[in-house]
Symmetry: C2
Subunit: 253 residues, 2 copies
DNA sequence: CCGACTTTGTGCAAGCGTTCACAAGCGGTA
DNA sequence: TACCGCTTGTGAACGCTTGCACAAAGTCGG
């Protein structure tokens, strides 16, 4: 029974080696939420490098990343102490350390399965290769698509998934098939040795424990937004009657 | 008080009444994480309805949704007590209550801004309308696109965003423009009265407090996957020395 | 070299969210 | 009606995350 979202780790550790052990130790202890933020910091920092910024304080970086500065510093402390008190952080140093922790020193080839509306968009998207995630293979079940190049890469038939993934050392599989096909595709990716899956189909995938799945479910996102609209409407209807909301805050009409 | 579909949702113009107040109270207390899961339960339950299932236990539903059963029951308890002990939940009752809490009794019109690769995929996607999120407007800055129908809807020019959004009662704005344009587009959406934004551009948006933003950042998702690969690789390298990993689990060579 | 000033890194406490475990409640059965 | 087995609903414990507040550690001007 594998959980859909890879969370909850924090187990006991047993380091044995000299310097490597420390990195491992650190990596294991980083909360999932912090990892997601580190990726955001990395993006912001990359922008800073392009602008020629060499040094940045936790206050500046945190506001650019939309978090508070204490949280930012705590997050950075998980990966080590690379700041200079009274000055801030060296942008390039920070970038390289975050990249190391996120495992971005290695290239991660991506395979997209299901070259429909979404699959086309993903295959054409320039943002992946530029961040170290080259799209190395495309798969579809439609024979009319096989051989057709999309985003510069010819589509392979899904039946060749095992050999092609092995050949091109695919480490991340992206599922963009209809929901009915998703579990089967997932199983084939897993058989092909892919251990990381990004799933766009609105289904809960069952995978072995050694496979990491993350899902992107746009309908869920919309429903969360919808919930907030409803909540706000309710609050307004209920609390604005006397012009004052909870905590005595005045609500605009 | 049986709130069924189509009940025009008393929220806006109704006077205070105890049942509403209770719903309000409940809605406010639901943790964000639980809201996201409720949306998943809803999807699973919809599938159950289609299969003719009328009753379901927390155990069954939780495993179909990929969570543990205690969490599921706790989540459902946030919205009220609609199960029958010894039996389980009536699927349709549960569906209607979750829909009510998520605010899905109302339609939420969606506007997509930036009709490029991703925008096209979104506009063509049938999964939104079918879940109560009709795509009501499309916008782009490219004059060659204005008037061109995508997914059955003609693209409007971004300059008309305020009037068109008002006319079509857009309540959710989706940003699929290049990152450089995202903040400006966001500002225009907010000016147009849109209070919910789903952002695909890899930037942190600045919005007023009364606007809800959710972001979908695929590069971040990939980097989180990358982190787990790296962590696993490190663990294997470090722990496999004596052939035994954490928890005494033997790691494959 | 010193002292004022700035900013990091982190111990700690409070807040949330998750999980456990079990009493309460219900349907079925005799 | 009384009992039994099953499943819900939830209080309480636990553990992760956040935010505060401040000592430590560095810079810089004199
Ligand atoms: N289009 C969007 O914007 C969007 C948004 C959110 C979620 N999604 C989800 O993403 C998935 C894809 O959406 P889409 O709009 O691109 O659908 P689509 O129908 O346009 O494309 C699906 C593609 O998958 C291929 N396919 C079907 N079965 C397959 C199999 N067994 N193996 C390999 N390929 C197979 C089809 O040939 C087709 O090319 C769906 O699950 C959808 O719910 C799409
Ligand atoms: N394509 C993907 O699969 C993908 C994946 C992840 C994230 N994204 C992000 O989504 C966004 C869109 O990606 P894309 O691949 O569709 O890009 P794209 O270049 O294909 O499309 C962008 C569209 O936005 C329009 N546009 C530009 N400025 C605008 C403005 N000010 N107002 C309105 N429209 C404007 C352009 O005319 C173009 O049609 C980007 O921010 C990208 O980083 C895309």
């Amino acid at each position: 029974m594998a959980a859909q979202r890879g969370e909850g780790d924090a187990v006991v550790a047993t380091p044995r080696n000299p310097a490597d052990a420390e990195v491992r130790e650190r990596a294991r202890a980083i909360p999932e939420a912090a990892v997601a933020r580190l990726a955001v910091y990395l993006r912001v920092l990359s922008g800073m490098v392009d602008q020629g910024v060499t040094t940045i304080s936790s206050e500046e970086l945190s506001s650019a990343a939309g978090v508070n500065s204490a949280k930012l510093r705590k997050d950075l402390s998980y990966i080590g102490s690379y700041g200079t008190r009274g000055v801030g952080y060296d942008v390039e140093v920070l970038v390289s350390h975050i990249e190391r922790i996120l495992g971005l020193t290695r290239k991660h080839s991506v395979a997209v399965v299901g070259i429909g509306n979404l699959g086309h968009a993903l295959a054409n998207y320039g943002g992946f290769p530029s961040r170290g995630f080259p799209v190395a293979a495309l798969f579809d079940i439609d024979p009319d698509l096989t051989g057709v190049p999309v985003g510069g890469i010819p589509v392979n038939h899904i039946d060749d998934i095992a050999t092609v993934c092995a050949e091109r050392e695919v480490s991340i599989g992206v599922i963009a098939t209809p929901p009915q096909a998703a579990q089967a595709v997932c199983d084939r990716l897993v058989s092909a040795g892919v251990q990381c899956i990004l799933n766009f189909a609105p289904v809960v995938l069952q995978v072995p424990d050694n496979v990491e799945v993350r899902k992107v479910d746009l309908a869920v996102e919309m429903q969360i937004l919808s919930f907030h609209v409803a909540r706000r409407a309710d609050e307004a209807a209920g609390e604005v009657v006397n012009g004052v909301g909870v905590d005595g805050v005045v609500i605009r009409p």
